[in-house]
Symmetry: C2
Subunit: 428 residues, 2 copies
C-alpha cells in the first residue's frame, strides 16, 4: 500500500462543523453537482452538512496557480475530469487547505458563508455527462449465483469468467440521481410454463448493489489504457443501483445480453469520492487463479475496503413510522476483478474512454448468507422470501418500496469517509 | 402507401447541376456536418456534388418564419433533431424551394456561390452527439445464420426472436465517420482446441452491413414511444458498418452479449437521409408470424426499399489499379422488425431516447447466396473463402482491405436517391 497523502491524515479537522459519523469529513472532499434555488447547476464539494460552492471559489480568484477557473465554473464535472490528475491533486490540496482549521485563511477572510450551502437544501444532479455506461460482472459469487439461477443445467461460471472481466454496455440516458422515483417498467415476460409471452408491468423487480468508477482524461481511438496507467484515468467512485426486471431480462437476454430488463433506470449516488480520498482504504483483492494474461496483471493493491449496505423501507413500514431495514451487507473489496483491470480490458481493443464515462462493477455479493447484492440472490429466485420486521415478506420489490444503498470506509488510524446514498422508491 | 409529398416529385430539378446517377438530387436533401478549411463544423445539405451551407442560410435570415436560426447555426444536428417534425417539414420545403429551378429565388439573388461548398473538398464529421447507440438483430436470415455458427448444437433461432426485436447497447464513443481508418483490434480469443486464451490482434475481423435510424425529440423517462408515434421521433437513416472481431466476440459474449468484439469501431455514412425523402420508397415488410404483441403491432408500411452493397478493395487490387469488387448485395426491405417496432420496443420500459440517438438494424442478410451482410456468413465461418478477381481468397479481412458500404433507392416513377458511402480501411 502506498503512503497516505497528507489530505487524508486523520488528525486534520475542518472549521466547518463535521459530526464524527459524517460521510463527509475534511478527508473526503467528494465532488458533485448541485442547485440551490434557481440558476445553472454548480460544482460543489461536500463537507459535513454543507456544500462548498466551487464556482464561488473560482470566481473569487482562489484557483490561481492551480487550474483554469473555467474547470470549476462549468455546469458539469466533465472539464475537470478531462484535466486529469495534474489538476485534481493540487485542487484537492487547495480545497483541503481552505477548509482546514489553521490552514489557508482566504475563505474565512472573504466571508465563509458566501461559499457554503446547506446540504439538506440543495438539489443534487447527475454530476457529469456520461458518454458511455459499461456494467461489469466482476463478483465471482454473483456470477456463480446468477449462472445457477439462469442456466440451471450448465456450469454456473462460464469458461471465460476467470480470464476476463465480463461486461456489457448499459443505457446512459436513464442514469438518474439519488432520490429519483423509479417507475416499475413494463415489458415482455414469459414464465417457463406459458406458451407465449405477454406484455405488462414487471413482477420481478430487483436491485443490484454496485460501485462505479468515473473516468478522467481517457484515451485516443486505437490506443489502450494499461493497468499501470489506470490511476491517471480514474477520478473516483460512486454507488450504483442497477435496477433490474428479472422477468423481462430472463426472456430477452439471449443471445445479446440484458437490454430492457436493465435500461429503465440506474441510480447513482450524488458525490464522486476520489481515489485520493480512498487511498487509506486500499486493500489487496482476492487471489486470481489462473494468473491473468499479461495485459491484466497488476502488482499494486487495487481493491478498496468499502462497506456496503442495502436498506429497504416498505410502504407499510413508512405508514407505521418504522425505519428502513438493512437486508444486505457486503464489501467492495471482495470483487474478483479490480477497476484498473476493468479499464485496461475495456480499452484493450482501442475503444475510447471519454471524461465522465461510468464503469460499474456489477452486483457485489459476498459468500456469506445476507451478503448478496440483489434480491434474486437473497431470496433465491423468489423462493425464499425475506421476512421483514413487521411480518411482511419480500421476494421482489413492491410498489412503494424504497431502496437505499449506502457505502462507507472505516479503519483504525483513518477518518471514516462515506459515499452518501443511492436511493429510489418504486412507483406503479 | 401514403401519398408522396411534393418535395419528392421526380420532375423537380435543381439549378445546382445534378448527375442522373447522383445520390443527392433535389428529392433527397440529406443533412450532415462538414468542415471546409478551418472553423467550427457546420450543418450542410448535400445537393449533387455540392454542399448547401445551412449556417449561411440561417445567417442570411432565410429561416424566418420556419424555425429559430440557432437550430441551423449549431455545430451539431442535435438541436434540429430535438425540434421535431413541426420544424423538419417546413425546413425541407424551404430548402427544396430555394434549390429548385424556378423556385424561391432568394439564394440565387443573394449570390448562390456564397452558400455552396464542393462536396469533394469538405471534410465530413459525425453529425450528431450520439447519446446512446443500440444495435438490433432484426434480420431473420442473419440471426439464423449466426445461431448456426455460434451455437451449432442448439436451435438456430432462439424462442424470443420472433416475439421481440432483440437488441443490445453498443459503444457510442467509437462511432466514426466514413473514411476513418479502422485499426485491427487486439483482444482475448480462445480457439476451441486451445486450453487457454491468448491476447493479440484479431484474426477474424469482419464487417456488418446495417442501416441505423437517428432519433428526434425523444421521450420523457418512464414513458414510451408507441408505434403510431414513431414517425414524430425518427429523423432519418444512415448506413452503418458494425465492425466485428469474431474471435474476440466468440470468447467473450456469454452471458452478457458482445462487448470488445464490437466496441472498437462503428462506421456511419455522413448524410442522414430523412424519412420524408424516403417516402416514395416505403414498402411492406415481411409477414410477421406469430402476430406481434399489441405494443408492437403496426398497420402502416414501415419497411423501406433500399438496395445495399458491400464493396471490397484489397491492397493488391489497389496496387494494380483494380476497382473494388462487390461481394454482397441485399435489401433493407427484408428486415423482419421495422424501425417503428424497434423504437417502440426500446422505449416500452420507459427508457429515454434522446435527440441524436442511433438505433442500428443489425446485420442485413438476404436469403440468397451472396446476399449476406457479413463475411462470417458469406464465407460460412471462414470455411469457404471468397475468391476475389485476381485470385486472392478472403475469409476475413486482411490489413489494407478497404470496405465500402453503399445504399440507394430506385424505382419507376421516383428519382433515385442514395446514402453515399460508409467506408473504412483496415490498418495493422
Amino acid at each position: 500500500m502506498s503512503a497516505r497523502n497528507d489530505t487524508t491524515d486523520e488528525r486534520l479537522e475542518s472549521w466547518v462543523p463535521v459530526a464524527r459519523d459524517s460521510d463527509f469529513p475534511l478527508q473526503n472532499l467528494p465532488f458533485g453537482l448541485f442547485e440551490d434555488g434557481g440558476g445553472a447547476p454548480r460544482i460543489g464539494v461536500a463537507i459535513g452538512d454543507r456544500v462548498l460552492d466551487c464556482r464561488a471559489i473560482a470566481e473569487a480568484g482562489l484557483l490561481e496557480g492551480i487550474c483554469d477557473a473555467a474547470l470549476l465554473e462549468a455546469p458539469l464535472l466533465n472539464p475537470l475530469l478531462a484535466a486529469g490528475r495534474p489538476v485534481w491533486r493540487p485542487l484537492r490540496a487547495l480545497l483541503s487547505a481552505l477548509l482546514r482549521e489553521g490552514g489557508d485563511a482566504r475563505l474565512l477572510d472573504a466571508g465563509a458563508e458566501h461559499f457554503l450551502h446547506d446540504r439538506n437544501r440543495v438539489r443534487m444532479r447527475v454530476p457529469m455527462e456520461i458518454g458511455d455506461y459499461v456494467d461489469f460482472y466482476s463478483s465471482i459469487e454473483h456470477a456463480t449465483n446468477l449462472g445457477r439461477l439462469f442456466r440451471p443445467n450448465a456450469e454456473a461460471l462460464l469458461p471465460n469468467w476467470r480470464w476476463l472481466p465480463v461486461g456489457y454496455h448499459g443505457r446512459a440516458s436513464t442514469i438518474v440521481i439519488d432520490g429519483t422515483p423509479v417507475r416499475r417498467p413494463s415489458g415482455q415476460r414469459k414464465p417457463p410454463e406459458a406458451a407465449t409471452p405477454e406484455f405488462g408491468p414487471s413482477r420481478r423487480l430487483d436491485i443490484e448493489l454496485e460501485m462505479g468508477f468515473v473516468t478522467g482524461p481517457g484515451n485516443a481511438l486505437g490506443t489502450a489504457i494499461p493497468v499501470a496507467e489506470a490511476r491517471e484515468h480514474i477520478f473516483g467512485l460512486v454507488i450504483v443501483n442497477d435496477w433490474s426486471a428479472r422477468d423481462i431480462q430472463a426472456w430477452e437476454y439471449q443471445p445479446l445480453g440484458p437490454f430492457l430488463g436493465k435500461s429503465f433506470a440506474t441510480t447513482i449516488s450524488p458525490w464522486v469520492v476520489t481515489l485520493d480520498a480512498l487511498e487509506p482504504f486500499r486493500a489487496q483483492g482476492p487471489r486470481q487463479e489462473p494468473q491473468p494474461l499479461e495485459y491484466l496483471r497488476c502488482d499494486e493493491a487495487w481493491a478498496y475496503d468499502i462497506s456496503l449496505a442495502v436498506d429497504l423501507q416498505t410502504e407499510a413500514m413508512r405508514a407505521r413510522g418504522a425505519a428502513a431495514q438493512t437486508i444486505s451487507r457486503t464489501n467492495y473489496r471482495e470483487l474478483y476483478w479490480n477497476i484498473a483491470q476493468q479499464l485496461a480490458h475495456a480499452t484493450a481493443n482501442g475503444a475510447v474512454a471519454r471524461p465522465g464515462d461510468l464503469f460499474a462493477s456489477g452486483t457485489i455479493s459476498g459468500a456469506e448468507p445476507g451478503a448478496q447484492g440483489s434480491l434474486i440472490e437473497l431470496t433465491w429466485n423468489g423462493e425464499r422470501a425475506i421476512q421483514l420486521a413487521g411480518g411482511e415478506p419480500r421476494a421482489f420489490l413492491e410498489d412503494g418500496d424504497e431502496v437505499t444503498l449506502r457505502g462507507w470506509c472505516e479503519r483504525a488510524g483513518a477518518r471514516r469517509i462515506g459515499f452518501g446514498e443511492a436511493r429510489g422508491r418504486v412507483t406503479a
